[in-house]
Amino acid sequence: MFYRITRFWPHSLRLVALMLALAGLGVAQEQTPAQETPTPHEGTTPVTQPAAPQQESAAPRATTPAPPSDVVIKNAYLMTVTHGNIKNGSIYIKNGKIAAVGQTVNAPASATVIDAGGRYVTPGIVDSHSHIALDDDVNEATSPITPQMKMLDAFDYTDKAIYRALAGGVTTSLLLHGSANMIGGQAIVIKHKYGAERDAMLFPGAPPSIKFASGENPKRVYGGKGQVPSTRMGNFEVQREALQQGREYRREWDDYNAKVKRGDKDAKAPKRDLKLEALADILRGKFLVQIHCYRADEFLTEIAIAHEFGYKIRAFHHALESYKVADKIAAEGIGVAAFADWWGYKQEAWDAIPWMPVMDMRKGVRVAIKSDSDDFDRRLNQEAAKTMRYGGATEEEALKMITLNPAWIVGVDNRVGSLDIGKDGDIVIWSDYPLSVYAVPEKVLIDGDVYFDRSLPGLGLTHYKEGQ
């Protein structure tokens, strides 16, 4: 995907970084199924936003196998992320959920047993910033405000990038709109069940995210066309104007809904506008706001705008200069989705330092290491291990940056990100110590079902047929 984009640039290698970063600002919105947004003519309940802020996947079809009812992984070195490591441990997964974790577990004799052979076992990796499986449709770069874009509409569930990340231990990804626009589009959260049909890959119940951007990319895209924004002044003004329009649209609907509630038979529903509706939903707090942002001053401006309009920012993405204002980001409860050590690909990446993730973390910021790339998502474990070297993250802190912390950024930390009872059976069995360059996933389970097994011939996939 990035390759195809960069072919238009003279110096592909260098520009890959730029384009990655450009693409990488996606607005994530977990998809909101169309049926969740009632039309204004239905019933008396006014509706301007999805009734439920969760991503619902359709009922699994025949191609989506039900997870095995009982699975036990035994003889494992469990790295739970939340409660330490357990040597010679076992996990019992019942109906796709972790039912027991410990030295010993009580499982029925009929359970499928996977002997980990003493290997390291971690939760599945969560990538909180990805643009895979979206073909060239990452950026609707025709307007700086496109919150009505739904990445679901571009989701190519057959993209082998989903498989390659799975083979690197990734089980959940947030697929975001790119960073061309100040307000991009609505993301989806997927599970890497490669070989399953489309809707089975959508993370059921994941909250919707929306992608914002700032800085050089919107400037470059629209300034290059002789349009607003071509400056950071333009960037933020475009953003404020859009949010103001969303505020007015929301008021119109609030007024209408109030009239309906009062029994006013003459109340006339405002005309629906998908763009304004999405903006209003941002103000209603329906979205986790994921902002691509680099420079120290821009974090502060984004925070100020969020205060002005009354929404919360979930995470700053890339956030290369976040170490300069980490205390302020921490005070807002905003997360950071970072690169481990990328830098220098553009002016606003010039002050990037590899100590940033740990410096932020020490100031109380919840930090994730993410890929923003169909390359790095294949070895996020190595990227996380860099935080041990740069700043001295502990093993558990490093692991948390690719599991529980990104799960929080995506809004699914109650479902995945650690080996805890009740969580999804998303599990990686590693060939070696996972926080090193030597580790390769041997098996990857999602919802208690093996989706990748390195020992198998061919692609190592269990739910995929050649030519599918």
């Binding site: 072919r7 238009f8 003279p10 110096h11 592909s12 290698l13 260098r14 520009l15 970084a17 730029l18 082998k160 498989y163 390659r164 083979a167 690197g168 050089e216 470059r220 170490y323 300069k324 050590d341 990328w342 830098w343 220098g344 690909y345 553009k346 002016q347 990446a349 010039w350 002050d351 990037a352 330092i353 590899p354 100590w355 410096m359 169909d374 390359d375 294949r378 070895r379 190595q382 291990a385 860099k386 041990m388 070297r389 060939s431 070696d432 926080l435 090193s436 360059v437 030597y438 580790a439 390769v440 061919g458 692609l459 190592g460």
Partner: protein
């Protein structure tokens, strides 16, 4: 008028003479029979002048390199195994002793560094980078990566652009990379000529160890001028690329022939056939052509081309072209040539493999590229790794480490970024292993050099300790207060 003409003639004669000298030098003098033979002479010149030293250090002429002993570490010699509890002595910028601590005596007055628990290994060598050619990728004014107005640009020399003060260089060397090939970006079939650098020195002159060491010959299909249907121009296809390359080398052969003819005439001092008017005048030399001239050392097999291909079909086309013109070559990338690994081995040339992170083709298994280094090694191919990058050259050792996860022996992985690279680039007499007499480019880390967790604690280049500071450490320190 006459006067002026006379002057012009005189001037031309001088130029001609000068040109001839240059060409003779080029044909017979500068380039020895191989890179390996040629390089020592050239670097010696540089070293005899002013030894390379840290820009921030005092001038080398004023401060002699200290005698340093690294005591008690694990020595990864690369050339003769691992020595636990070893000692390495650095003197006059060279490795003076290597061995078990029990048998190496530390010279009096030496600065002793306790390396207990540490790993000591040779400075790492990146076999292709763009260091010194770019600062901020998206800022075009900071880029001197490639002339892409034409595809055949062998007369571009990266040393003319190499920016010794680049902030990227300290960032790179603090992770133990001490030497690198600097190559132009790969968007042309013949984008110019590489230089071999050392990552410390007071100026570009000191850092550029070997100029024009090799020439990239790119044949991956990405060099086609087919960005869009509207912008397409020749060569829009691989046929076009091959035809253009072939013509370029034919033109260079023709050019060489013209100079040969001229030189023969000149030596014979015989008048041209019956031309009495020109009896006493030397023959007219051909017009010099820098582009064609640049191809001559490669046509003559004096220097290697770095033949880049990814797919097997491109590889075979490009190798055939190289054979057609008797070009000496090393292979580069071969990322999607898994079906012809035995053929590659049969070529008996080294391979710069990767990057290991190159994505497999959609139909390929996830590890099709990850396992390539091991597959080539098993077939007896000498391999090296390259960052193909500028900002992230520091991550070079992790490519080697990742190859270990897919079957490459650990010592071979380290060799691929030290001794193998030194051999490929003809500097193994000075670099690539911990051996007495070699240049003291030595790194000390607190762990496995191929793993991301290892923290580099000391870097020595020509025996001088490099401060482990760079733009990034300064920002870290400033914001950690």
């Amino acid at each position: 008028m006459r006067k002026h003409s006379a002057f012009t003639r005189q001037h031309s004669a001088f130029s001609r003479q000068h040109s001839v000298l240059l060409l003779l030098l080029l044909l017979f003098g500068i380039a020895a029979t191989s890179v390996a033979q040629q390089t020592p002479t050239r670097t010696k010149k540089i070293k005899d002048g002013q030894p390379a030293h840290m820009r921030t250090a005092a001038p080398a002429s004023q401060v002699a390199a200290p005698v340093i002993a690294l005591r008690g570490g694990t020595l990864l010699t690369v050339s003769h195994g691992t020595i636990k509890d070893g000692t390495l002595v650095i003197e006059n910028g060279k490795i003076a002793a290597v061995g078990p601590a029990s048998s190496v005596s530390i010279p009096k007055g030496a600065q002793v560094i306790d390396a207990t628990g540490m790993t000591i290994y040779p400075g790492l060598i990146d076999s292709e980078s763009n260091l010194g050619l770019t600062e901020i990728s998206a800022e075009q004014m900071t880029n001197d990566l490639v002339e892409d107005s034409d595809e055949i640009m062998p007369h571009m020399h990266v040393y003319d652009a190499f920016h010794a003060e680049s902030a990227l260089i300290p960032v790179t060397r603090v992770n133990g990379v001490t030497n690198a090939i600097v190559a132009p970006d790969s968007s042309d079939t013949l984008p110019g000529q590489d230089s071999f650098i050392q990552l410390a020195g007071a100026s570009a002159t000191e850092m550029l160890m070997i100029r024009d060491i090799a020439m990239p010959f790119n044949f991956t299909g990405k060099e086609r001028r087919n960005e869009t249907w509207e912008k397409r121009k020749f060569p829009q296809t691989r046929m076009g690329m091959a035809a253009q390359l072939r013509q370029a080398f034919l033109d260079a052969q023709d050019y060489a022939q013209k100079w040969d003819d001229y030189n023969k005439k000149k030596e014979s001092k015989a008048p041209a056939d019956g031309d009495k008017d020109k009896k006493n005048e030397p023959p007219t030399p051909p017009k010099r052509d820098l582009k064609l001239e640049a191809l001559l050392p490669y046509l003559q097999g004096k220097k290697p081309i770095v033949l880049a291909a990814e797919q097997s079909n491109d590889l075979e086309t490009a190798v055939n072209l190289a054979h057609e013109f008797n070009l000496k070559f090393v292979l580069n990338h071969v990322s999607h040539s898994q079906s012809v690994l035995d053929y590659i081995a049969s070529l008996k040339v080294p391979v710069i493999v990767g990057p290991i992170y190159e994505k497999p083709k959609p139909e390929e298994r996830f590890d099709a590229v990850y396992s390539l280094p091991a597959q080539l090694y098993k077939r007896g191919v000498k391999i090296a790794f390259a960052s193909y990058d500028a900002h992230q050259v520091r991550n070079l050792p992790y490519q080697a480490g990742f190859a270990v996860a897919f079957g490459l022996p650990h010592d071979e992985a380290l060799k691929a970024i030290t001794l193998n690279a030194a051999e490929i680039w003809g500097v193994a007499d000075r670099l690539g292993s911990l051996d007495v007499g070699k240049t003291a480019n030595v790194v000390v880390a607190n762990g496995d050099p191929l793993d991301v967790k290892a923290d580099v604690k000391h870097v020595f280049i020509e025996g001088r300790e490099i401060p482990l500071t760079d733009r990034q450490t300064r920002l870290r320190d400033e914001y950690s207060k």
